[in-house]
């Protein structure tokens, strides 16, 4: 049906609210009681994560098996299986949640489906083996509210992820979806909307942190027959996946926010520039756009007003630099994604030379809720100059890998040790990398710094899109810097000299150092050249590309020195600096290492200690991985 008035929207909301009420209620109350049909529960819902991570671990198979078990037991009228967006706790995926008792099952396999139906859904007994075990207390926790991972989080941009069915527009409407749009179109002037966004203090979540309201105002003020709203969904930062999860879990929030933006700046055309590597996000977004059209929330005369707006999808093709707005615009025009000098800003001359407003996915996901809850509400969250929350993709050597959302101003310590559950395998924390290839490494001394745009910049890193990679004592910081440089060199578009040649030289120096040929003078060259690139490169990518090198030089100078002076790598990562040997006292001569050595570098008689020939050893570490007696040493 087409929604023509606020009244129609209210009718749908009422109808859909009923479906969501079970989930809403169980979200409000905290219960440890287990519900099942045997104990008189009338209706149950099984929510299953349909995000990329969980799908990769066969969440589709779980859904299929659950459905057939429901059929087999003849309880289809009482139990629903609903695919929702990402719950965030990817480390323990696939996740299955049972409503109304809020039981949170982790690492579920398709084989567990039968038990979930017979034991829990019918029998009303929790399945202990699938419950999350709190590593601190070693007790099982069945309600996600009681998990450290969720306790400190505040989910605003991710409010609907893991809660609603992303392929059902009515569930989104039931969560006050499209109400912000209706309110803007029917009751507010474009300038009022812009003013509200300005007052909320929302800053762009894509990296730069530019105030969103100001950006809208610039584009609004431009005189032009046609203007464009662009959603930047080219999430190129490796290790960041928040935009993907939002599009997979709550695509309608993006559609609604783009509409609101279009109304505010005077545009009738929206474009989403999305990575081709995100097939699931693309398909969910397409479904959302189609549904919004069918409901009359996209297209001509939306909600019976004069306002017309529609959205098209454009595909990226794997170029990190296209996250930069001018490069992105060129790419949408079918050209090489090379950035151009600003000004002119896209707000003046963007896509096809017309005024264009580019916002990132997470920024847009905040818009509808700011409008429904008010600018003042949003402005109370966060720090003085960074309002609201930030989504981080927590990854690397951390116990709880996943997607988290915390208020700005939360400290790194809270994120890593409380939400993230500390370092994997009880190792020692070394650094956390934020901001991706444009960011830097933060260390122990930054752990109590409240995270916001300005504090991260002051600490020599940046917010970036929100990737947060945790590293432990086994990571070599010189190698990490080399890894990022390798990335930048490959992704540099080649337009300006500092980035094209300068970064290449930086990479060569880092290769030299990790291969044991570096000198102390090279460290000075790294620092000077890094600074020159920072000062002279054309676009954001080039200007920030030396950050990983400069920040590791700052924080881990000793480690660089060891590489060049002593030719050692304390993390045992730089192959050229390592020697593998066998401890004759521990070696029992089982010959397993020799059998697995790809270079035939290990010799020895059975039951006699073996030796590694240093000339033949390719330092692959295979022997170490195979040895059951810890007899292989590396130094």
């Amino acid at each position: 049906m087409k929604i023509l008035s606020i009244h129609d929207l209210a009718t749908i909301r009422k109808r859909a609210e009923h479906k969501l009420s079970l989930r809403e209620e169980s979200n409000e109350k905290v219960t440890e009681k287990c519900c099942g049909l045997a104990s008189g529960t009338q209706h149950l819902q099984i929510l299953i994560c349909g995000g990329t991570g969980c799908k990769a671990s066969s969440s589709q198979g779980i859904t299929d098996n659950l459905r057939s078990a429901i059929q087999k037991n003849g309880i289809a009228d009482k139990v629903e299986v609903i695919t929702v967006g990402c719950f965030g706790f990817c480390e323990k995926g696939p996740i299955v949640k049972i409503i109304p008792d809020n039981t949170f099952y982790t690492q579920v396999t398709p084989e567990d489906a039968e038990d979930i139906i017979t034991e829990h859904i019918i029998g009303g007994r929790k399945i202990e083996r699938l419950l999350y075990i709190d590593p601190k207390t070693e007790h099982t926790v069945s309600n996600s509210k009681h998990m450290d991972f969720y306790r400190k989080q505040l989910r605003i941009a991710l409010r609907n992820c893991g809660f609603i069915d992303p392929e059902n527009i009515e569930e989104y409407i039931a969560r006050e979806g499209y109400h912000a749009l209706a309110d803007c179109l029917l009751n507010k002037q474009p300038t009022e909307v812009i003013d509200l966004i300005k007052r909320s203090g929302l800053r762009g979540r894509g990296g730069g942190g530019f105030p969103t309201g100001l950006k809208w105002e610039f584009t609004h003020k431009q005189q032009s027959d046609i203007k464009y709203v662009v959603c930047n969904a080219d999430e190129g930062d490796p290790g960041a996946f928040m935009d993907r999860s939002i599009m997979e879990g709550d695509p309608h929030s993006i559609v609604e926010a783009m509409c609101v933006c279009g109304y505010s700046i005077g545009s009738s055309k929206g474009l989403v520039y999305i990575r081709a590597e995100y097939p699931l996000a693309i398909s969910r977004l397409k479904i959302a756009i189609e549904q919004a059209r069918n409901y009359g929330l996209l297209g001509d005369n939306i909600l019976g007003t004069d306002f017309c707006f529609d959205i098209e999808i454009r595909y990226g093709a794997g170029a990190f630099v296209c996250g930069e707005e001018t490069a992105l615009i060129h790419s949408m025009e079918g050209k090489r994604g090379e950035p151009t000098l600003k000004p002119p800003f896209p707000a003046e001359s963007g896509y096809l030379g017309k005024p264009t407003n580019v916002n990132n996915v997470e920024t847009l996901a905040n818009i509808p809720i700011i409008l429904t809850k008010g600018a003042e509400w949003f402005a109370t969250i966060g720090t003085e100059r960074s309002k609201g929350t930030k989504v981080f993709a927590l990854a690397g050597k951390i116990n709880n890998v996943g997607l988290i959302e915390v208020p700005m101003g939360t400290t790194l310590r809270e994120v890593i040790y409380e939400i993230g559950g500390g370092i994997k395998g009880g190792k020692k924390f070394k650094a956390v990398q934020t901001g991706g290839p444009s960011g830097g490494c933060l260390t122990e001394k930054h752990l109590d710094t409240p995270i916001d745009f300005d504090n991260l910049l002051a600490a020599g890193s940046m917010m970036g899109s929100g990737g947060m990679i945790v590293m432990d004592e086994d990571d070599c910081m010189v190698s990490v810097a080399r890894f990022y440089l390798d990335f930048t060199v490959e992704e540099s578009c080649g337009k300006c000299t500092p980035c094209r040649i300068g970064n290449k030289r930086l990479l060569e120096l880092l290769n030299k150092i990790t291969e044991g040929r570096g000198t102390e003078k090279d460290l000075d060259t790294l620092a000077t050249l890094g600074q020159v690139i920072k000062d002279t490169a054309l676009c954001g990518l080039g200007q920030t590309s030396p950050n990983p090198v400069l920040s590791t030089l700052d924080n881990f100078y000793d480690e660089y020195l060891e590489h060049v002076r002593d030719k050692t790598c304390r993390a045992k990562q730089c192959k050229s600096l390592l020697t593998y040997t066998i401890n004759p006292e521990l070696c029992i001569g089982c010959h397993l290492c020799a059998k697995n050595c790809p270079a035939d570098a290990i010799i020895g008689l059975v039951r006699k200690p073996h030796i590694i020939s240093p000339d033949k050893c390719i330092k692959c570490g295979m022997c170490m991985a195979r040895c059951k007696f810890k007899a292989i040493l590396v130094c």
Binding site: A56, G239, Y315, G334, I469, N596
Partner: protein
Amino acid sequence: MSDIKLACDVAEQVRTICDKHGNNPGELINILHEAQHLHGYLPEEMQCIIASKLNIPVSKVYGVVTFYAFFTMTPKGKHPISVCMGTACYVRGSEKLLEEFKRVLGIEVGETTPDGKFSLDCLRCVGACGLAPVVMIGEKVYGRLQPIDVKKIIEELE
């Protein structure tokens, strides 16, 4: 233009794709996506066909094809292997994994085995960082792999 070695029906389908997009040079990237989806890769001749349909220089098409990592001018193997080199996978050992794939298959990144069975590539983050290190073979995602698993996987696929 050199002799057309591309099968006639493929060439015709590529022309149809261009027509579908109104032969609009602004649609070049979308056209290339569809053409690669159709044929698996974008050989020189195909780029010539697209250039003449859109009435732009071949150099421009070539410039775009080589700029974006997603487009390839070499045919992929029956089992295209992509090792994730995103940061999360890197710190959990994807570099060693890649070395092992190179060693077992005897090819470098960007190459295809002579029998056409396997090709090896790197990719940047599929967003399944919880499963790091991740390798994609075809459409299937393999998570939490160690170098010692590589040989077995290859043998299974062979």
